[in-house]
């Protein structure tokens, strides 16, 4: 699905590397962290370098796009979980204290 044949005629080009653009835009919108933007920067490099015939650099940019997207995703999920745990414990304790000490 991601493979398409580029216009170059110099031998057989390698498979177009995955550019992680949609994934990095998703983490930018939902994980609320600027790391997703780094993912988009590398995603755009995957496209331009592949089209320029620089397949090794495109492959490298693809790996970096993946790394930044995953970093943003993991930090986003972790911070959301921490937030939910803090919100739940504070609600729990305030309810408990209100009940026992301030009836």
């Amino acid at each position: 699905m991601e493979q398409s044949i580029p216009p170059q005629n110099t031998g057989i080009p390698p498979v177009r590397p995955k550019n992680w653009l949609v994934e990095s835009i998703l983490v930018t919108i939902f994980c609320c962290l600027p790391f997703g933007i780094a993912g988009i920067v590398f995603a755009s490099q995957v496209n331009s370098k592949y089209d320029a015939g620089d397949y090794a650099s495109a492959e490298k940019a693809s790996r970096q796009a993946k790394t930044w997207t995953l970093v943003a995703f993991i930090i986003g999920i972790a911070s959301a979980l921490i937030w939910i745990i803090i919100a739940m414990t504070t609600t729990f304790f305030s309810a408990m204290f209100n009940h026992h000490f301030y009836p």
Binding site: N19, P34, I40
Partner: protein, 134 residues
Amino acid sequence: MSIARIKILLISIAVLALGLLYYLYNPVGHSFFPECPFYALTGLDCPGCGSQRALYALLHGHLLQAAAYNLLFVLALPFIIYSAVIFAGNHLFGKRWNQNIFYKPWFAKVALVFILLFWILRNVPFSCFHWMAA
């Protein structure tokens, strides 16, 4: 079952569960919805700020309200759905559709410039940019 099919199954379950959560509960006034860490640290809006409220508004049919919370979210949604449909078509129904638009160099550059401009402008304290803030 292939890895792609498991992926589609897990993502569908997550989307349905989160869709239900954001349909039933308004992020405004419920403290268990996580706040953006970037906003919590800096007090500035990031490009994703307002997405949760925008999703709630969108699920209730308020498109303009959703765009007021986060314009980027509303504009990106059709592209994300397009990408998901192609992925599902290729892996569930044996199609060979191409995600061409995401592999055009200009598309990634336009997306990058748009997101960076949106991030900057929604934090500019002039009244003409207030509609972009979360």
